[in-house]
């Protein structure tokens, strides 16, 4: 299982701040996440950045059980 962090509007759309998924790539895991959370989450995901272990990642990147995927919608800090 790979941990997924869901931040800000992604957390709101998913209904949870973190979750766990099976899958070999970032893309597979996010696909499972859309299945689990539905259309609202899919819309947020479409405008979000994806990081793995704190760094920007591609959908084709491989992940394992010690990796952490983060879904980061557009920010508004400060």
């Amino acid at each position: 299982m790979t941990r997924v962090l869901l931040l800000g509007p992604a957390r709101e759309a998913a209904g949870v701040a973190q979750d766990e998924f099976d899958g070999d790539t970032v893309g597979e895991i996010l696909h499972s996440a859309v299945d689990r959370y539905g259309a609202d989450f899919e819309r947020v995901l479409a405008v979000s950045q994806i990081w793995v272990n704190g760094n920007p990642a591609e959908l084709t990147d491989l992940v394992g059980p010690y990796d952490e995927i983060a879904v980061l919608p557009p920010i508004s800090g400060g």
């Binding site: 931040l7 709101e12 983060a70 919608p73 508004s76 800090g77």
Partner: protein
């Protein structure tokens, strides 16, 4: 608050922030200038309502790692600066309270001003942080949202 480190101090917390605390911490025997920037909750809003508070959320570990990267980049640009602190509040922050505070000390004030300006601009562009605007009877995500920028691209 946790034990303050020596030269770089990034911190994300739901506790109230203090300009004095960072100003005192940043003061060093060889640094005659300390510039602080405080972002505070104001009543004007991106959604047209009278704001009563803001709610910030993030993942603390991700945000602190990014803050540390921003501070490192500031040091590579202004080699003479002394202590650097960036603290960001999360959770509910009431009108007039501090949401983010930056403090930079330096032997010379020009560097301290430039680095503090760079730090707050870069924090706002590069650090994962989400803001809800809260008013009497409602709340919504801030409409001034933008993609996270990588620190080196600025």
């Amino acid at each position: 608050m946790n034990l303050a480190p020596n030269l770089d101090w990034v911190f994300v917390s739901s506790s109230p922030l203090s300009a004095d605390e960072l100003c005192k911490w940043a003061t060093r025997p060889n640094c005659g200038a300390v510039v602080t920037f405080c972002g505070t909750v104001r009543n004007t809003s991106t959604t047209g309502h009278d704001i009563t508070s803001l709610e910030y959320e993030t993942d603390v570990a991700l945000a602190e790692a990014r803050l540390a990267e921003v501070v490192g980049e500031a040091r590579s640009r202004w080699g003479e600066i002394g202590a650097v602190a960036v603290h960001h509040r999360i959770g509910t922050v009431e009108l007039g309270e501090i949401t983010v505070v930056v403090a930079v000390s330096s032997p010379h004030r020009q560097d301290a001003f430039e680095a503090a300006k760079y730090l707050i601009d870069t924090v706002k562009n590069c650090v994962p942080m989400w803001k809800r605007e809260v008013w009497e009877g409602g709340s919504a995500w801030s409409e001034e949202a933008h993609d996270i920028v990588s620190v080196r691209k600025r």
